[in-house]
Symmetry: C4
Subunit: 250 residues, 4 copies
């Protein structure tokens, strides 16, 4: 389940940025399967009992279950499952996807709520080391953001009218002919170089659109880095507490 969500969150930005001009049969089938899985999950939720927060009793009444789900996350869950692209194709007969379609597709990130819930439950589970669960959570968030930023940055270059005046075009003049792999790694490389504040400068903003994107990305990273360091400090303090207490007790 969590893996499917991760797949869906990882593959969507990639598709939008890199595959918009490709015939993408195999990935499209995989996507449809994942969407189908989430649709089944929505249906199943109507039949799964839940524990009431106030009475601490298991509620089996299907009406109450339905009422609870419909009044909370049902709408968002459905919205994030509808294959808007397929509908668009059916109604208009055109394969070209528009901006509104992209925005509706971003509803899929709603599914990440489940991953968040999963990690929160794991953190409270005494069987797992808090240190490693927290680390895994932070690494997942970082990797997802790096991936999204890389895809978006590539999309900016793809959409820019003048090929040569883009970050990748100024380095590899005919980059649209190079393999998908090289382009993806370059975008990811830039993304991580900026995220970790190394900033080699071999891939930097060339036009104003890219500058604006980087400004927001860097501001966001400043917060993320501070958050990561804050978490690590917290974990280190917890981790060395036992040794400190042992020393102070002597």
């Amino acid at each position: 389940m969590v893996l499917l969500v991760a797949y869906s969150a990882w593959v969507y930005p990639f598709e939008v940025a890199f595959l918009s001009s490709y015939p993408k049969k195999p990935l499209y089938i995989a996507d449809s399967l994942v969407d189908l899985f989430f649709a089944t999950d929505i249906v199943l939720t109507f039949f799964v009992a839940y524990i009431d927060h106030t009475t601490h009793l298991l509620v089996r009444d299907s009406k109450k279950i339905a009422m609870r789900y419909l009044s909370t996350w049902f709408l968002m869950d459905v919205a994030s499952t509808i294959p808007f692209e397929a509908f668009y194709y059916l109604f208009t007969g055109k394969a070209k996807i528009t901006l509104s379609c992209y925005l509706l597709g971003m509803l899929r990130f709603w599914r990440l709520r489940r991953v968040k819930q999963f990690f929160t439950r794991l953190e409270k589970d005494i069987r797992f080391s808090y240190f490693w669960v927290r680390c895994a959570r932070l690494i997942s968030v970082t990797l997802l953001l790096v991936h999204c930023a890389g895809c978006l940055y590539y999309l900016l270059a793809e959409l820019y009218p003048h090929q040569g005046k883009t970050w990748i075009g100024s380095l590899i003049p005919n980059y649209r002919e190079t393999s998908l792999w090289i382009r993806y790694i370059s975008a990811l490389y830039w993304s991580i170089t900026t995220m970790t504040t190394v900033g080699y400068g071999d891939l930097h903003a060339v036009n104003t659109m890219e500058m604006i994107f980087i400004i927001f990305y860097m501001l966001f990273n400043l917060g993320l880095t501070a958050y990561l360091i804050g978490n690590m400090t917290n974990l280190v303090v917890e981790g060395t507490r036992r040794t400190m207490e042992f020393r102070n007790s002597i």
Copy 2:
């Protein structure tokens, strides 16, 4: 109120750096309106009752109110509201603004005291999440500083006698003919690239004046970054305390 202060603190460095050679009718009228608003505010303060810190009683006596205000912030409030530029124009008849005028205009930053008070009050308000109030405060400070640094850095290039030997001139030879938007985004891009310590190096100091400016800016940033991380650590420790206590209690 807070928004007006933010506007006034944001627009002033921008005007000085980018608009010094433009006819700036619309912005000038907006500025005058804001100044008028603050003047009204000063007058109003004389009629607003306050709570005495020692007796915890509401003081309505207008004399006492006036005495208290005059002895505390009145002078600075007035100084930050006087439109020195208009006076200068009236007395000398010249539209060109001198350095002393700029320095007097910097008194407007005094108004930021109100934003600080606003945030301090919000932090103590139990209805708002401490985490988000603190984050908003830190982000505001960061954004304002980034904006000011960008404007100052552009001003340095503008004032330098030799156009080609400036940070922007070495990249865009005829930068003074490009649009205001490109120049502002470039300055902001440099400012954030340096602030977040990414430092791509595509826009770097060229002459000695810029080097000196960057030296001070970076030293200042070192402190600011440490302060941001310190705050974030504090917030993370607070945020995860409940989960930690839950784990330790088992």
Copy 3:
């Protein structure tokens, strides 16, 4: 003992990366001596009494000692001591070392377990300052990682078929003819420039393989830097506690 482990962990990546095409007599003899020493250490462990964790008694029974050692680290200790390279040479008669040999050689890093134990014991020892022991530990870890990353990065350039399209080849065209010292310092310089997130950009990734390596290295560094800062914060809090308590007590 600890020094020998450090030597062995330091020299192995260096050998693999820089000396694969050299006749390396003197280092080979030193390596064999160190391996011999560790083999002796394994034998000695069978005759050294240990303190039982549950009864707190010294166990002198050689059978019990052997049982305990065989069931815990014996296998790994032996595996990390076997000179696979020599065996390979004996069986095949070829001096060229293959990838599988390199991977088996990496078992030597298992010896670092002892250094970890050594530092953990030191941290609990009240005679030494916790601050300096912890600093020494963190510095050792950092230096070892910087060294390994530098060697690996050089190895990537060495293995790449097209000499000119490597990080070092794009700077020094005929780098394979330059002295070992210059190449090692260059690799180390790149490694530390990236680790500390300075990122001058004079030595950056050129081909896709290097980009992938840097992506992982930077992600890893992000965690390491956060860990270092977390530890430092912890130490500073401990260090200034006495002064703080003195101030608060007044």
Copy 4:
């Protein structure tokens, strides 16, 4: 007193790096005066009463004072005051200063012990804000290190036999003819760019000597940055404690 120490610590690296080939009359006289002042201070220490740590009584006995001083810091104080350069000049008659002279001159940094004592006393003084005293201390340390690193880095370029293959020579070919001011600012600019991990890359290592110097400088900075952030976190936690307690008490 503290100011004189600061002057002496600031001026010494500057002299060694930048003025070794200049006739330096005025600075030499100032140095001599400062040295004279410290010599007087040593003599005075023999007549200043001290408080005994065990009995908490003021000791006025001049014999005891002398004994205490002679057995503690007297030797180092004297060593850091002797004008080795002048002696060298007297004995050999040559104005050229050798490496051993430089090393002996470094004893002047011993005087910084007094500044450390001064700040430690200030931190314990309840009349001053702990936050600002600590900040001032950290800023002083940072500035001194940045200055020393800049001077050393310039010295490396100065001593390198091939002018063009130095960090400054690859940017300004005939740098030895440019003004002292430009060279000093360039060195300081590089030093702070590296220290704050911005690393624009416009001034980077060119030869192996510089690489080695930067490797050590960056490793040292990693520790310093972590230390600064650790201190800041500590201060922020202290600073926001009152607000947090107020919120938790409601």
